[in-house]
Subunit: 153 residues, 2 copies
Amino acid sequence: VTDERTRATDQALAALKAHGCRMTPQRRAIVSEIMQADGHIAPAELANRVQRKIPGINPATVYRTLGLLDELGILSHAHLGGGVEYHVARDSDHVHLICSNCGTTRSIPTSEIEPVITMIRASHGFLPDLTHFAIEGLCSDCRPRQTDKAKGA
Amino acid sequence: VTDERTRATDQALAALKAHGCRMTPQRRAIVSEIMQADGHIAPAELANRVQRKIPGINPATVYRTLGLLDELGILSHAHLGGGVEYHVARDSDHVHLICSNCGTTRSIPTSEIEPVITMIRASHGFLPDLTHFAIEGLCSDCRPRQTDKAKGA
DNA sequence: TTAAATGCAAAGAGTTTGCACTTAG
DNA sequence: CTAAGTGCAAACTCTTTGCATTTAA
């Protein structure tokens, strides 16, 4: 896993370079840190983590870098429960299911809900990007059992 | 429509009263205003509207009243694109589709995506509440035509 | 060298909170 | 009367922006 992330970091830095951006220690730290993040991370939290490694770094720099990486298509952002979170763009093919009761988050690959997308597109002409917003609901542990049979009452 | 909303306002006020809350001009204005709102409204926007009618009213009062109504189950909130929005709880059986290109918002009744809910529940044991988060995507106007045939390329 | 990038500090939006004052019941 | 409700002001979180300074190339 470490290797993958190191490589992802290098690729992102290379992409920045290719775009004519300069290579600063701050950017290296920010990019490295977001690659370490497990899936997605809120900007403020990322700023905290980076600051632990590069004490002097300013939140504004983190925000600017995130925005830049988003524009370049290296990162994407999604609206999860607690606000916006960033993630590696190529890792965006999964949907977040958040349990409104216990707060547990699960990810499922977009492919598994492909039929959902097809269905909404067919009936409403709308092509949903289900990765952009989380889906809240009740996980199997928190869901009352009878829901299987009687969903109404 | 006016009648319906007047009645909804009265019902909400009655519910507050039944809960032992006092009836103040501020509350009357806030409840009335949210019933006038078309579907859902952001707290800050609601505060603005109410302030136009009761000039002296304070945003804090609006936020407190919204929280109260949410706790009582009269209102619910959903995470749409621009943050949290409140709506009448009993009007929550629709899903918001937001076009990421033109910003247009459409609502579709939950019943129309019932199969989606069933599907996710069946395959993942997760009972989604699709009304709680918006679904972003491309509307029929903004969606490239070829998407109908070749969705990959 | 020199334009890009950073740090800083201020501003901003949206929301929450403590506390004294007001007012509904 | 008296506790619930309000207004006010301050604080708070997260984020953005202008500008002087630093620094990568």
